[in-house]
Amino acid sequence: MSILYDEGQQAIATESRRVLDARMAKDRLLALLEQVGLADQPFWDTAVEQGWTALAIPEAFGGLGLGLVELGLVAQAAGAATSGAPFLTSGYGLSSALIGSGNSALQQAWLPRLASGEVTAAIAFAEGNAILPAQPAVALTGGKLNGTKPAVVGASSADVALVWASAGGQPVLTLAELAAVERRAVSSYDNTRLHADLTFKDTPAQVLAEGAAARALALDVLARMAVVTAHEQVGGAEALLHIARDYAITRKAFGQPIGAFQSIKHRIAEMYGLVEIARANCIHAAASEDQPGFLIAAADARISATEAYDTNARDCMQIHGGIGVTWELGLHLHMRRARSLAAEQGNLLFWEDLLVNQLTGEAA
């Protein structure tokens, strides 16, 4: 379904953008690129202070009881600012898994602390280039996890992880505290994503779901996170559209603004088209949460948003010419983020396959 944002939702969009505009600083983000394992703390403090961590958690657990539409709007603002902590999405992923599991003891234990921002989560699904491997190498035996999840987003500082593992040939979705888990921070092209290898050695874990139910729940969690990320990508892509337009209006060459050349203005008009198509898909997907067709809507949002952000990062730099590739201007913050978000929550290859499977009635 498609919706028009109501007043409350519009206020969330405006306010989150206003707060981030005031508090985000490009120089700080640029410096963090060269630091391994450091989060953008001011962003995370802002998220907690503004109650963004509580947005999509039910009121019974200390949350605000809102949903994917509202969280998506905050993610869009965060994307525009290339804000630097991955926990908004991963915390939502874990809380969705807890709610979906129906395990009230675990909900009581974790949801209030996720809502307050007291704990942060990582989603340890992927191995290699598979976001949801059929046979995860990380194994659960006797309630304990063993094995390594490579380059998990947020893992260099997260308190708890949602882990996709195997148990006796069946997939399981488990929850593990990370205090005693070995973490090896990965130096990446987008370091505030806090990538780290997680090596589990007899790590106690609790099972949220097993077998087919585990796969269905993991896929639902992934789709929800993908919709949040798609909003973040739209925010980034739209910011790049505006940066490109503003530059094309002010920069002159051959006696006129470069935006008067069709090679430039048409490129920017195409950037606009990608943003609007992705935005429309995001709104549709967020408003389709818990409804039939959600997976298809999530895939549409994810595919179009990934295309929009990658393309706009590429084209915005191209439109800038030499200045666009300098460290100082910082367009590469978007270029880097476009790629890290493109690979988080399943890449284009995964979502294209999932979408076609859905359209042809095959099981995902």
Binding site: L4, A260, W351, L359
Partner: protein, 401 residues
């Protein structure tokens, strides 16, 4: 259920009843003349059932409903493949302009009724050999002639002119002022002496567009719509009338389901085509793009229902949908291999990949080429500068040819 949804249900019930006689399947094998005769019959039935002039005022013979009712009806009707193509422009632009600008109300009422019933068809004569996108560069000339006017010149790309009874036309009445200031708008009787219509056969084999020649055609001053020199404004008004029309994210070509069906039927290298990554990627990308356009349409509809102006993103529809239909049609033909060579020029664009492919260039040019649409988005939506325009501020007769 909202009032619009009730109306939509009523429309669907009507269309389902009409489909066996007038729908896509009933039209297979029709010549253009047979299809036109069937179309006229359908239009009369549509009018009699209360679906003619849905959003026009009852004073001129309309139903007095909103734009949204009209869009809802059109979106439903599009599913059935009714023979309405002859009447789309007629009722979309020339007749509404006549309603707005013609002073002779009795004449208007009679024309509206006949146009709605498909008894008369109107064409719109804007483009010329010297200017399509650049409308104000037109050269068809009118000169005062007694108490009326005398017209000479040529129009081109005029849809269905060979079947039209009337038309609206923009002409140059004063070549000594800036190009868009010297234009005057008229309606004309297409059967007037000196009017000659010559069909143009298009790449796909059909001839729905024409050249129209004017040789000392007499126009009464009562046929003038708007002020002398005010023609450009009336022309712009024409283009604004149906800004929010029923769109089709398939670019008026086949539905993506048709492509998926084809990919399930054929093989590539001994394996089902649906398992081929290239095919899967094309399906997924097209689905995501079309879903986005559909969502834009639905939100535009919600905005209109809420009394708001829909956003400018609606301007993406034709640009994005038609060019991707062109590529998808090529890929579908590749999937068919030698089986795709067979070609039926009368097959429907919405169900046949070959026809969809060969007619796609027309869709990318008519009603604003891709390039003009990109310019419009860049300038009007994003505020980028206009192109270099050497003809700006120069009297028409001093513009270097």
């Amino acid at each position: 259920m909202s009032e619009i949804e009730t109306f939509r249900d009523k429309a669907r019930a009507f269309l389902e009843k009409m489909a066996p006689k007038y729908g896509r399947d009933a039209r297979v094998g029709n010549t253009v003349e047979q299809d036109l005769a069937l179309g006229r019959e359908y239009m009369a039935a549509r009018y009699d059932a209360g679906f003619g002039g849905i959003n026009w005022s009852p004073e001129v013979g309309g139903q007095g409903l909103s734009n949204m009712h009209k869009i809802a009806f059109d979106a439903e009707e599009m599913q059935f493949g009714m023979p309405v193509q002859f009447f789309g422009i007629s009722l979309g632009m020339p007749v509404p302009i006549l309603i707005n600008y013609c002073q002779d109300k009795a004449f208007v009422k009679e024309r509206v009724r006949k146009a709605l019933r498909g008894e008369e068809i109107w064409c719109q004569m804007f483009s010329e050999p010297s200017g399509g996108s650049d409308l104000a560069a037109l050269r068809t000339r009118v000169e005062p002639d007694g108490n009326g006017w005398k017209m000479n010149g040529q129009k081109i790309w005029t849809s269905w002119a060979q079947y039209c009874d009337y038309g609206v036309i923009v002409t140059r009445s004063d070549p000594t002022v800036e190009k868009h200031k010297g234009l005057t708008y008229f309606w004309i009787d297409m059967k007037s002496p000196g009017v000659e219509v010559r069909p143009i056969k298009l790449a796909g084999g059909d001839s729905h567009v024409n050249e129209v020649f004017f040789d000392d055609v007499r126009l009464e001053d009562e046929q003038r719509l708007g002020a002398v020199g005010g023609g450009f404004g009336v022309a712009l008004h024409t283009l604004m009338i149906e800004r929010y029309i029923a769109t089709d994210s398939a670019g008026f070509g086949p539905h993506l389901d048709e492509f998926v069906k084809l990919a399930l039927e054929v093989e590539i290298n001994g394996k089902p085509a649906i398992e081929d990554g290239r095919i899967r990627s094309a399906i997924a990308r097209n689905h995501a793009m079309r879903a986005g356009l559909d969502s834009i349409t639905k939100r535009a509809f919600l905005m209109m229902q809420a009394g708001m102006q829909p956003g400018p993103e609606g301007s993406l529809q034709k640009l994005v949908a038609v060019r991707s239909r062109q590529k998808l049609s090529e890929l579908a033909m590749d999937l068919k291999g030698n089986a795709g060579f067979a070609f039926d020029p009368h097959a429907f664009v919405k169900t046949d990949w070959g026809t969809s492919w060969l007619n796609a260039p027309t869709g990318r040019i008519a009603g604003g080429s891709d390039e003009v649409l990109l310019n419009t988005i860049a300038e009007k939506v994003l505020g980028l500068p206009q192109d270099h325009r050497p003809d700006k501020g120069v009297p028409f007769n001093q513009i270097p040819a």
